[in-house]
Homo-oligomer: 133 residues x 6
């Protein structure tokens, strides 16, 4: 299996609901350094997994939807805790939708699965991985 990974980041405010979160129930924030890993079993005719320039652009665009925002104000997340693992899944779903819509180009047709990792600090990170539809 081949894979390619591109890295970017976004910076958000949010708060959590539930005693398990302790002081993180207060409004605070995070820098999320994001790794997007794209996988396929064989390379295409150009010898690549994906057009890495397009992959970087699509990741940047999807992160821009949240960058410099308070996630508590996002209607789509109402009633949900925007934990690192939850946001990893959100980014996964958004990138998967862009791939399904053809936005990563012809190169992306052979992609089989993705892994999205969000690093919240030098000592903690979370990920979601799964097959593409």
């Amino acid at each position: 299996m081949y894979s390619v990974n591109v890295r970017d980041h976004f910076m958000i405010a949010h708060s959590f609901d539930g005693a398990v979160f302790g002081p993180a129930q207060r409004l605070h924030g995070a820098t999320y350094i994001v790794d997007l890993e794209l996988r396929r079993p064989a390379l295409d005719a150009d010898g690549v997994v994906v057009d890495i320039g397009l992959a970087s652009s699509v990741l940047r665009e999807e992160l821009a939807a949240f960058n410099f925002r308070n996630l508590d104000d996002e209607p789509a997340f109402a009633g949900r805790n925007t934990t690192t693992e939850f946001m990893a899944r959100v980014i996964f779903d958004r990138v998967a939708a862009r791939i399904a819509a053809g936005h990563l180009g012809a190169h992306a047709s052979g992609l089989e699965s993705l892994r999205v990792t969000l690093h919240e600090s030098h000592v903690a990170w979370a990920a979601f991985e799964g097959p593409l539809a």
Copy 2:
């Protein structure tokens, strides 16, 4: 599959038995930077893989059993080489036992597998991963 990773470290002395180890047969030591990755297929009602504070505490407690010690003096390791890969398995088993004993809380009931990675330098590391019982 979702995963969450927490990082900590411990510092030990030890020596190895066997010609394959060359100069590492002498008493020496290592800093092990430890990554504990916990995995489950779905998030719980709070939107988390695990109570990350509890996971960090349990990891710290298990590493404390070895931190600032000479592993050659540990009766449990008599006759064994405490290589990086061997110690990754030891940490795996100890954390798995803590999960089985309920020490990671109700959040941990859905955990499916773990990966423990021990970084011994900027150019070498070892890991053990497997399912939880």
Copy 3:
């Protein structure tokens, strides 16, 4: 010159005032990974720059004053932009005050200067350094 560095982190929300900040004028947040470097020209009788355990504890305590908070709500920062470079100076001053108060112990008497670096992402950081009074 000798130096010792300890690393920790804190997570905050804030917003900036001024057109130069663009989208960062909105409420957002950051993880700050903090490096505290302590310097002195000679080691003490124990062979150390400082009691590294105490240095780590004092840094952790000072970061706890801001961790999981919205800096826009801090009276001390009213009318100020809590940029990365500004916060580096804030941490510098707070640690310097703790040293002056003797909280780093007898070992700290020979300290000459500090450098505080705040990493806001994998591609941007800021620092403040200067002599101790």
Copy 4:
């Protein structure tokens, strides 16, 4: 499953053929930081996955075949784009052949699979992983 990883690097020139590569169609170059991960289900009698000294030596020897070279001049790569993912597979195949030839020693007999990752920058990397024959 156990794994051990060793890291090294090599520095090459090359160019790509195809409009998808944009400015990378020009002759340029890269530093590839290489991670070689070797996996096996059980440790051997010495308590190791592999003789890590031998693994490091074999990796260094295989990278030396390309280090400080222009990949456009390598007959073996004629008509191929030496992308990061392509080169990950090349290193995989070369290391796998060395294992098959017994060059990693008796310790390597239990190896089941490899993963080779090439980091081309702090924001992009590619990998190939698969079973050993």
Copy 5:
């Protein structure tokens, strides 16, 4: 003293002239991960060292002059070895000229010195630092 650092990278081919370079006399290449540190003794009215967005853009523009190129073909470098330390100075001079030309904006008027670091691998880097004219 305050400082702000931004990071980017560029990828080039080149060769060196002189027996001291050994195999690096052959045409090869490198990824240079670049850190640009900008320093000033006091913050401006906005609480910043520099407009970090502008600093990132100017760095990117200057690196674009060399990105995906063979430095052996650059007339400006004829008869010179484009070593990592030499290129650090080249980037320093180009960014300093942009600052002198006012391209970093009013915020940059208080800048006192720069440091440019080029990382050529995980085990080697070089830098040039000095005052601004």
Copy 6:
């Protein structure tokens, strides 16, 4: 000022004497990742700060004197605590002596100062820097 940095590592056992060290009074160990930074105000005729291959070799040779050893057994350190900052100075002095003896070659004649940093974990490091005689 120009600088070049090379990185290597060594692994040792030791113990500390003094209540300030707490559990580190027990026999334990560390991996030290070592950065050797060499500085000079101008490049030589080849465009380098130093022959980086020679610098790497000399660093490796000096670390080999301690690698895979128990520092408590070294006569030269009797009655001293081999703390990270102390060892940074030891490595500094040994490399400086090698430079004075001409072992870094003609390229090293212009070297003005060194900085030696020992990373003992992902959250702690120490350094010694100073002029060359």
